[in-house]
């Protein structure tokens, strides 16, 4: 058990709580940087997918986890980001400006939609955002010059600083690109959370009425959070387009919106870690199920593949269990394990006894 005494205000302001904490993240960074040498191309591709979905999850976490506004339509902003990026690149833009444009377009789209939509709360907000996702789905079929209609658009190869980056030809370069974007966004996210804007988001989530009485312009805070959230998701959409190499309206169905929400709920609403944990589960669980079914087929002769929809069912079961037994998601589990280790012989069973908490969107404001 390590006891760290704070001696300066900076101890609370800094990103890392002391050396040991920093060392942990240095190890994680080293592992991530070394991944292309360790993993084969297939698994590197899966890891890249985890990074991209983590980025999309971060976007949704900002608005749903930290500002308390449910969105069932974030695939719409992935679509806006992806189509903007590809359309501009096909018109001769370089990758980086096109990537920035994806973020800006989705962010602006988010800001425009935010004002009317965020007047609603709870189930009504859920339905409105769901409708948004469906509308964007239809628009991506109709806006053929930009989105390629039903056929969709192919992702042109990326050239960056004189380097050709292609998901299949140079998977490690694409992996590093995604890692770089994700790290930058995460740093910006954490910076916001440790300053006034981030605190105003939390205030809006927990009690709108007292946020307002303390001088938080609630409409503005929600709009900013939604817009930033959409910008991050737009970035993820652009990277996803290059990961998938081709996107059409089917890449961003409502189902993706719902999967994203499940991802942040499984990961743990209201924690940055949660976006990452959730992405790991969402991307890797189908793989784990596939490997397990192969194994069972080979050893016991049980053919799981004969039952279609089993992976979806397992996924659903996991979510059910999660919501019932651990509403704070995988982050909650991780937090408990960490506390248990830190306190080792002194951990008490009732330490994390739950009080009734849920998204307070239905609360009187």
């Amino acid at each position: 058990m390590s006891n760290r005494f704070k001696s300066r205000y900076d101890d609370d302001i800094n990103l890392f709580e002391g050396r040991w904490h920093m060392a942990q993240y240095a190890i994680l960074a080293a592992l991530l940087l070394a991944a292309p040498w360790v993993l084969g191309n297939y698994y590197l591709g899966e890891l890249t997918a985890v990074l991209v979905w983590s980025l999309a999850g971060l976007g949704l976490m900002l608005i749903s986890g930290h500002t308390g506004q449910v969105s069932l339509g974030h695939a719409a902003f992935m679509a806006i980001g992806a189509f903007t990026n590809l359309a501009l690149m096909q018109r001769g833009w370089h990758f980086l400006p096109a990537l920035l444009a994806s973020a800006v377009t989705s962010g602006v789209a988010g800001a425009v939609i935010a004002r009317p939509i965020l007047r609603m709360s709870g189930i009504y907000l859920g339905i409105a955002t769901l409708a948004l996702s469906i509308i964007v789905e239809d628009v991506s079929i109709m806006a053929e010059p930009v989105t390629g209609g039903v056929a969709g658009v192919f992702a042109p190869p990326i050239s960056l600083f004189g380097m050709e980056i292609d998901r299949y030809a140079t998977p490690e370069a694409f992996y590093y690109l995604c890692l770089g974007v994700l790290v930058l966004v995460t740093l910006g996210y954490l910076n916001l959370l440790r300053s006034a804007s981030g605190r105003s988001f939390l205030a809006v989530r927990d009690s709108e009425v007292s946020a307002r009485a303390l001088g938080v312009n609630v409409a503005r805070a929600k709009t900013l959070a939604f817009s930033l959230s959409c910008a991050i998701t737009g970035l993820a959409g652009a990277l996803y387009a290059h990961l998938a190499q081709a996107v059409n309206y089917e890449s961003f169905l409502v189902l993706i919106s719902i999967t994203l929400l499940l991802q942040v709920v499984i990961g743990g609403l209201g924690s940055v870690h949660g976006a990452f944990f959730g992405a790991i589960v969402v991307v890797l669980l189908p793989q784990v199920i596939a490997i397990a079914s192969d194994y069972l087929d080979n050893t016991a002769g049980i053919q799981i593949a004969a039952y279609p929809g089993l992976d979806t069912a397992l996924f659903a079961l996991l979510i059910l269990l999660m919501v019932i037994y651990e509403p704070r998601g995988l982050y909650g589990v991780w937090f408990k394990v960490r506390t248990w280790l830190q306190l080792f012989p002194l951990y008490r069973k009732g330490m994390f006894r739950r009080t009734r908490t849920y998204l307070k969107t239905e609360r009187q404001r």
Binding site: Y9, L192, A196, D206, L214, G215
Partner: protein, 256 residues
């Protein structure tokens, strides 16, 4: 000089006139208390002053400025802070974070500066923290600084909410039933703190409270209201002795 002037304030919800032509003035530096039976409109008056409700008639003048048309989020910046009857803290944040949110109306940085965490942001965070620490010191909250609100006992939460209001550096603090649900000792502490706020910090306090021992102890003036109307004004003893007030609380005496 009066810091807060309320003139002919009225509001109705549907057909119910919750507040009907209430006028009073709060002098700078005094403790002014609103008393009255349940449903008298005391909390509604608070919500009107903090601009959460829109009055149907009347004017609110704070520090020489008419605030009747201001949006609610601009009121804190002018120097009006408040607490709520049913504690409205940010449950999933620590005491420290709650107090820092209390300083939101004094923020000096913009979101894109915060995104990059420029040196200016760090400087401002340190300054804000220093001022928050003064409040923590004032209300003896140091043991709870890093605790989550969700795990704190009720009495402490009451104090944290006052601390959060004080963190915004107000001129006028509105306390909505600061002693409700507190033990005798905690009420005693609350009385001291209200006296300290008035004497050491030079604050003006506008309070709604039912505990008459606390009211008599700290208030300079008391206004009794019932059914949205003002009944009597004066010292705590005068108001308590007023026949109209007694009637409002206990009903009319049976005629023999």
């Amino acid at each position: 000089m009066s810091l807060l002037q309320v003139k002919d304030l009225s509001i109705s919800f549907g057909g119910v006139k919750a507040v009907d032509g209430v006028s009073f003035e709060v002098k700078a530096g005094e403790v002014f208390t609103l008393v009255g039976p349940n449903g008298a409109g005391k909390s509604t008056i608070f919500n009107l002053i903090s601009r959460l409700y829109e009055p149907s008639a009347g004017q609110i003048i704070f520090d020489g400025q008419d605030i009747t048309g201001l949006p609610a989020h601009d009121v804190a910046g002018l120097g009006i802070a408040r607490t709520f009857q049913n504690i409205e803290l940010f449950d999933h944040s620590s005491v420290l974070q709650n107090l820092l949110i209390g300083r939101h109306c004094r923020r000096q940085t913009r979101w894109f500066e915060e995104l990059l965490f420029l040196p200016k942001v760090r400087r401002s965070e340190r300054e804000q923290r220093l001022l928050v620490e003064e409040v923590i010191d004032f209300l003896d909250l140091a043991p709870y600084r890093d605790k989550l609100i969700a795990g704190l006992p009720y009495g402490v939460r009451k104090v944290v909410e006052i601390a959060r209001a004080l963190a915004s550096e107000p001129k006028l603090i509105l306390l909505d039933e600061p002693a409700s649900g507190l033990s005798v000792e905690e009420t005693q502490n609350m009385a001291w703190w209200i006296e300290d706020m008035q004497k050491d910090l030079g604050l003006t306090v506008l309070m709604v409270e039912h505990d008459m021992s606390l009211v008599s102890r700290v208030s300079d003036r008391v206004l009794a209201v019932a059914e949205g109307h003002p009944l009597a004004m004066g010292t705590a003893a005068e108001v308590q002795a007023n026949p109209k007030v007694i009637e409002a609380y206990l009903g009319t005496e049976a005629t023999s």
